[in-house]
Symmetry: C2
DNA sequence: AATAAAATCACCCGAAAGTATGAATGAAAG
DNA sequence: CTTTCATTCATACTTTCGGGTGATTTTATT
Protein backbone atom coordinates (compact mmCIF):
# COMPACT_ATOMS: atom_id res chain seq x y z
CA UNK A 1 0.00 0.00 0.00
CA UNK A 2 2.45 2.58 1.18
CA UNK A 3 4.92 1.33 -1.35
CA UNK A 4 2.58 2.31 -4.14
CA UNK A 5 2.28 5.81 -2.75
CA UNK A 6 6.04 5.98 -2.64
CA UNK A 7 6.17 4.97 -6.28
CA UNK A 8 3.73 7.73 -7.10
CA UNK A 9 5.83 10.29 -5.32
CA UNK A 10 8.95 9.14 -7.12
CA UNK A 11 7.13 9.43 -10.41
CA UNK A 12 6.10 12.92 -9.54
CA UNK A 13 9.60 13.91 -8.66
CA UNK A 14 10.88 12.46 -11.89
CA UNK A 15 8.43 14.49 -13.90
CA UNK A 16 9.27 17.60 -11.96
CA UNK A 17 13.00 17.26 -12.45
CA UNK A 18 12.46 16.60 -16.10
CA UNK A 19 10.39 19.72 -16.44
CA UNK A 20 13.06 21.77 -14.78
CA UNK A 21 15.76 20.34 -16.96
CA UNK A 22 13.62 20.82 -20.01
CA UNK A 23 12.77 24.47 -19.93
CA UNK A 24 15.91 25.78 -18.37
CA UNK A 25 18.89 24.60 -20.22
CA UNK A 26 18.64 21.39 -22.07
CA UNK A 27 16.18 22.39 -24.70
CA UNK A 28 18.48 25.08 -25.94
CA UNK A 29 21.55 22.94 -26.05
CA UNK A 30 20.43 19.61 -27.35
CA UNK A 31 17.88 18.61 -29.86
CA UNK A 32 14.37 17.53 -29.05
CA UNK A 33 15.25 14.01 -30.09
CA UNK A 34 17.96 13.68 -27.46
CA UNK A 35 15.65 15.03 -24.83
CA UNK A 36 12.98 12.52 -25.75
CA UNK A 37 15.49 9.71 -25.69
CA UNK A 38 16.68 10.73 -22.27
CA UNK A 39 13.18 10.80 -20.91
CA UNK A 40 12.52 7.45 -22.48
CA UNK A 41 15.59 5.87 -20.94
CA UNK A 42 14.89 7.24 -17.50
CA UNK A 43 11.33 6.02 -17.44
CA UNK A 44 12.35 2.72 -18.93
CA UNK A 45 14.82 2.16 -16.10
CA UNK A 46 12.28 3.23 -13.52
CA UNK A 47 9.66 0.96 -15.02
CA UNK A 48 12.07 -1.93 -15.13
CA UNK A 49 13.06 -1.45 -11.54
CA UNK A 50 9.44 -1.16 -10.46
CA UNK A 51 8.40 -4.26 -12.34
CA UNK A 52 11.28 -6.37 -11.11
CA UNK A 53 10.75 -5.20 -7.56
CA UNK A 54 7.08 -6.05 -7.50
CA UNK A 55 7.41 -9.40 -9.22
CA UNK A 56 10.41 -10.40 -7.18
CA UNK A 57 8.40 -9.90 -4.02
CA UNK A 58 6.62 -12.91 -2.69
CA UNK A 59 7.93 -15.13 -5.37
CA UNK A 60 10.63 -16.12 -2.97
CA UNK A 61 13.37 -18.12 -4.64
CA UNK A 62 12.14 -21.72 -4.50
CA UNK A 63 15.29 -23.53 -3.48
CA UNK A 64 13.92 -26.58 -1.80
CA UNK A 65 11.84 -29.19 -3.46
CA UNK A 66 10.78 -31.26 -0.52
CA UNK A 67 9.61 -29.33 2.50
CA UNK A 68 11.06 -30.77 5.68
CA UNK A 69 8.96 -32.15 8.47
CA UNK A 70 10.26 -29.67 10.97
CA UNK A 71 9.12 -26.47 12.52
CA UNK A 72 11.38 -24.60 10.16
CA UNK A 73 9.74 -22.30 7.65
CA UNK A 74 10.51 -22.55 3.96
CA UNK A 75 12.76 -19.58 4.02
CA UNK A 76 14.60 -20.81 7.05
CA UNK A 77 15.09 -24.10 5.29
CA UNK A 78 16.56 -22.30 2.31
CA UNK A 79 18.99 -20.50 4.54
CA UNK A 80 19.87 -23.69 6.35
CA UNK A 81 20.76 -25.41 3.12
CA UNK A 82 23.05 -22.64 2.00
CA UNK A 83 24.50 -22.53 5.48
CA UNK A 84 25.31 -26.22 5.27
CA UNK A 85 26.96 -25.50 1.97
CA UNK A 86 29.52 -23.38 3.73
CA UNK A 87 28.14 -20.08 2.55
CA UNK A 88 28.59 -16.97 4.64
CA UNK A 89 25.63 -14.88 5.72
CA UNK A 90 26.62 -12.28 3.19
CA UNK A 91 26.74 -14.81 0.38
CA UNK A 92 23.39 -16.23 1.41
CA UNK A 93 21.90 -12.76 1.46
CA UNK A 94 23.18 -12.07 -2.04
CA UNK A 95 21.97 -15.36 -3.39
CA UNK A 96 18.49 -14.91 -1.95
CA UNK A 97 18.31 -11.22 -2.87
CA UNK A 98 17.64 -10.07 0.68
CA UNK A 99 19.58 -8.02 3.16
CA UNK A 100 22.26 -9.32 5.48
CA UNK A 101 20.11 -8.44 8.46
CA UNK A 102 17.32 -10.59 7.18
CA UNK A 103 19.63 -13.56 6.94
CA UNK A 104 20.82 -12.88 10.45
CA UNK A 105 17.25 -12.96 11.66
CA UNK A 106 16.66 -16.23 9.85
CA UNK A 107 19.78 -17.83 11.25
CA UNK A 108 18.84 -16.72 14.73
CA UNK A 109 15.42 -18.30 14.35
CA UNK A 110 16.97 -21.44 12.92
CA UNK A 111 19.28 -21.70 15.91
CA UNK A 112 16.37 -21.26 18.26
CA UNK A 113 14.27 -23.90 16.57
CA UNK A 114 17.13 -26.37 16.34
CA UNK A 115 18.22 -25.46 19.83
CA UNK A 116 21.82 -24.69 18.95
CA UNK A 117 24.18 -21.75 19.22
CA UNK A 118 26.31 -21.89 16.11
CA UNK A 119 25.91 -22.58 12.43
CA UNK A 120 28.22 -25.55 12.56
CA UNK A 121 26.03 -27.07 15.24
CA UNK A 122 22.99 -26.26 13.17
CA UNK A 123 24.18 -28.17 10.12
CA UNK A 124 25.36 -31.02 12.29
CA UNK A 125 22.02 -31.29 14.04
CA UNK A 126 20.10 -30.84 10.83
CA UNK A 127 22.07 -33.68 9.33
CA UNK A 128 21.32 -35.85 12.30
CA UNK A 129 17.65 -34.94 12.15
CA UNK A 130 17.60 -36.04 8.53
CA UNK A 131 16.45 -32.65 7.33
CA UNK A 132 19.31 -32.03 4.97
CA UNK B 1 65.03 -29.18 28.41
CA UNK B 2 64.52 -25.78 29.88
CA UNK B 3 61.40 -27.02 31.56
CA UNK B 4 63.44 -29.45 33.58
CA UNK B 5 65.70 -26.65 34.73
CA UNK B 6 62.62 -24.73 35.75
CA UNK B 7 61.45 -27.70 37.74
CA UNK B 8 64.82 -27.85 39.46
CA UNK B 9 64.67 -24.20 40.36
CA UNK B 10 61.18 -24.61 41.78
CA UNK B 11 62.36 -27.54 43.82
CA UNK B 12 65.23 -25.49 45.15
CA UNK B 13 62.96 -22.66 46.09
CA UNK B 14 60.63 -25.05 47.86
CA UNK B 15 63.48 -26.47 49.93
CA UNK B 16 64.72 -23.01 50.74
CA UNK B 17 61.38 -21.74 51.92
CA UNK B 18 60.91 -24.85 53.97
CA UNK B 19 64.26 -24.37 55.66
CA UNK B 20 63.40 -20.81 56.50
CA UNK B 21 60.05 -21.77 57.91
CA UNK B 22 61.66 -24.61 59.80
CA UNK B 23 64.34 -22.96 61.86
CA UNK B 24 62.70 -19.67 62.40
CA UNK B 25 59.28 -20.09 63.79
CA UNK B 26 57.47 -23.22 62.97
CA UNK B 27 59.59 -25.65 64.89
CA UNK B 28 58.93 -23.84 68.11
CA UNK B 29 55.20 -23.54 67.61
CA UNK B 30 54.09 -26.80 66.10
CA UNK B 31 55.23 -30.30 66.62
CA UNK B 32 57.70 -32.11 64.42
CA UNK B 33 54.90 -34.30 63.16
CA UNK B 34 52.93 -31.40 61.80
CA UNK B 35 56.02 -30.03 60.12
CA UNK B 36 56.73 -33.34 58.49
CA UNK B 37 53.17 -33.64 57.32
CA UNK B 38 53.29 -30.18 55.82
CA UNK B 39 56.46 -30.92 53.93
CA UNK B 40 54.98 -34.17 52.75
CA UNK B 41 51.83 -32.54 51.47
CA UNK B 42 53.68 -29.80 49.66
CA UNK B 43 56.03 -32.17 47.91
CA UNK B 44 53.21 -34.54 47.14
CA UNK B 45 51.29 -31.78 45.42
CA UNK B 46 54.37 -30.66 43.55
CA UNK B 47 55.15 -34.20 42.49
CA UNK B 48 51.59 -34.75 41.37
CA UNK B 49 51.58 -31.59 39.34
CA UNK B 50 54.92 -32.42 37.80
CA UNK B 51 53.86 -35.92 36.91
CA UNK B 52 50.57 -34.92 35.44
CA UNK B 53 52.17 -32.13 33.47
CA UNK B 54 54.84 -34.32 31.94
CA UNK B 55 52.58 -37.23 31.15
CA UNK B 56 49.91 -35.01 29.74
CA UNK B 57 52.46 -33.57 27.36
CA UNK B 58 52.94 -35.40 24.15
CA UNK B 59 50.41 -37.98 24.96
CA UNK B 60 48.15 -35.73 23.06
CA UNK B 61 44.55 -36.69 23.60
CA UNK B 62 44.15 -39.60 21.23
CA UNK B 63 40.88 -38.67 19.63
CA UNK B 64 41.24 -40.29 16.28
CA UNK B 65 41.72 -43.96 15.68
CA UNK B 66 42.34 -44.02 11.98
CA UNK B 67 44.72 -41.44 10.65
CA UNK B 68 43.37 -39.90 7.49
CA UNK B 69 45.16 -40.09 4.17
CA UNK B 70 45.53 -36.37 3.90
CA UNK B 71 48.17 -33.80 4.46
CA UNK B 72 46.57 -32.94 7.77
CA UNK B 73 48.59 -33.62 10.89
CA UNK B 74 47.16 -35.65 13.76
CA UNK B 75 46.49 -32.61 15.82
CA UNK B 76 44.85 -30.83 12.98
CA UNK B 77 42.67 -33.84 12.43
CA UNK B 78 41.64 -33.77 16.08
CA UNK B 79 40.68 -30.15 15.74
CA UNK B 80 38.83 -30.82 12.51
CA UNK B 81 36.73 -33.48 14.16
CA UNK B 82 35.72 -31.25 17.02
CA UNK B 83 35.09 -28.49 14.54
CA UNK B 84 32.73 -30.73 12.61
CA UNK B 85 31.03 -31.43 15.88
CA UNK B 86 29.99 -27.82 16.09
CA UNK B 87 32.44 -26.87 18.79
CA UNK B 88 33.76 -23.34 19.03
CA UNK B 89 37.48 -22.67 19.06
CA UNK B 90 37.26 -21.95 22.75
CA UNK B 91 35.56 -25.24 23.48
CA UNK B 92 38.07 -27.12 21.37
CA UNK B 93 40.90 -25.45 23.23
CA UNK B 94 39.44 -26.46 26.57
CA UNK B 95 38.84 -30.01 25.49
CA UNK B 96 42.38 -30.44 24.16
CA UNK B 97 43.98 -28.59 27.07
CA UNK B 98 45.69 -26.04 24.91
CA UNK B 99 45.29 -22.30 24.44
CA UNK B 100 42.78 -20.62 22.21
CA UNK B 101 45.58 -19.21 20.08
CA UNK B 102 46.91 -22.66 19.41
CA UNK B 103 43.55 -23.78 18.13
CA UNK B 104 43.38 -20.72 15.96
CA UNK B 105 46.70 -21.64 14.44
CA UNK B 106 45.49 -25.17 13.82
CA UNK B 107 42.29 -24.03 12.21
CA UNK B 108 44.19 -21.63 9.99
CA UNK B 109 46.45 -24.43 8.84
CA UNK B 110 43.47 -26.70 8.30
CA UNK B 111 41.82 -24.07 6.15
CA UNK B 112 44.98 -23.66 4.13
CA UNK B 113 45.41 -27.37 3.58
CA UNK B 114 41.77 -27.92 2.69
CA UNK B 115 41.80 -24.75 0.62
CA UNK B 116 38.77 -23.18 2.27
CA UNK B 117 37.96 -19.97 4.11
CA UNK B 118 35.46 -20.96 6.78
CA UNK B 119 34.94 -23.77 9.22
CA UNK B 120 31.64 -24.70 7.66
CA UNK B 121 33.37 -25.11 4.34
CA UNK B 122 36.09 -27.12 6.02
CA UNK B 123 33.71 -29.69 7.46
CA UNK B 124 31.78 -29.81 4.21
CA UNK B 125 34.93 -30.43 2.20
CA UNK B 126 36.29 -32.88 4.72
CA UNK B 127 33.07 -34.81 4.48
CA UNK B 128 33.31 -34.86 0.73
CA UNK B 129 36.92 -35.95 0.88
CA UNK B 130 35.89 -38.86 3.08
CA UNK B 131 38.15 -37.78 5.91
CA UNK B 132 35.50 -37.49 8.53
C1' DA C 1 74.26 -33.23 16.14
C1' DA C 2 71.79 -30.91 12.61
C1' DT C 3 67.68 -30.20 10.14
C1' DA C 4 62.89 -30.33 9.36
C1' DA C 5 58.24 -30.79 10.70
C1' DA C 6 54.79 -30.38 14.20
C1' DA C 7 52.88 -28.21 18.10
C1' DT C 8 52.49 -24.62 21.12
C1' DC C 9 51.42 -19.66 22.21
C1' DA C 10 51.09 -14.58 21.65
C1' DC C 11 49.46 -10.07 19.67
C1' DC C 12 47.00 -7.30 16.51
C1' DC C 13 43.29 -6.18 13.55
C1' DG C 14 39.35 -6.35 10.63
C1' DA C 15 35.53 -9.18 9.21
C1' DA C 16 31.90 -12.16 10.25
C1' DA C 17 28.71 -14.07 13.32
C1' DG C 18 25.44 -13.87 16.83
C1' DT C 19 22.09 -11.46 20.32
C1' DA C 20 18.48 -8.34 21.44
C1' DT C 21 14.90 -5.40 20.25
C1' DG C 22 11.66 -3.25 17.50
C1' DA C 23 8.98 -2.73 13.51
C1' DA C 24 6.59 -2.92 8.80
C1' DT C 25 4.32 -5.65 5.37
C1' DG C 26 1.99 -9.33 2.87
C1' DA C 27 -0.46 -13.69 3.00
C1' DA C 28 -3.45 -16.88 4.97
C1' DA C 29 -6.94 -18.20 8.00
C1' DG C 30 -10.43 -17.53 11.22
C1' DC D 1 -12.10 -7.77 8.90
C1' DT D 2 -9.07 -8.92 12.44
C1' DT D 3 -5.54 -12.14 14.06
C1' DT D 4 -1.67 -14.80 13.20
C1' DC D 5 2.45 -16.00 10.98
C1' DA D 6 6.23 -15.58 7.74
C1' DT D 7 9.26 -12.48 5.78
C1' DT D 8 11.65 -8.59 5.54
C1' DC D 9 14.77 -4.98 7.48
C1' DA D 10 17.13 -1.90 10.87
C1' DT D 11 20.20 -0.43 14.73
C1' DA D 12 23.20 -1.36 18.34
C1' DC D 13 26.20 -4.24 20.71
C1' DT D 14 29.19 -8.31 22.00
C1' DT D 15 31.57 -12.26 20.74
C1' DT D 16 33.87 -15.24 17.70
C1' DC D 17 36.51 -16.05 13.51
C1' DG D 18 40.10 -15.68 10.53
C1' DG D 19 44.41 -13.57 8.57
C1' DG D 20 49.03 -12.17 9.36
C1' DT D 21 53.26 -12.38 11.80
C1' DG D 22 56.67 -14.08 14.79
C1' DA D 23 58.43 -16.96 18.30
C1' DT D 24 59.66 -21.13 21.33
C1' DT D 25 59.66 -25.89 22.10
C1' DT D 26 59.08 -30.98 20.94
C1' DT D 27 59.46 -34.71 18.02
C1' DA D 28 61.20 -37.06 14.28
C1' DT D 29 64.54 -37.90 10.64
C1' DT D 30 68.81 -38.15 8.66
Amino acid sequence: MKKLVLYGVVMGLLFLSLEILNFKTLVRQVSMEVYGALVGVIFLVFGLWLGVTMVQKRQSTPLNVKPPETNLSEREYDVLQLMADGKSNKEIAEQLFVSLNTIKTHTSNIFSKLDVQRRTQAVQKARKLEIL
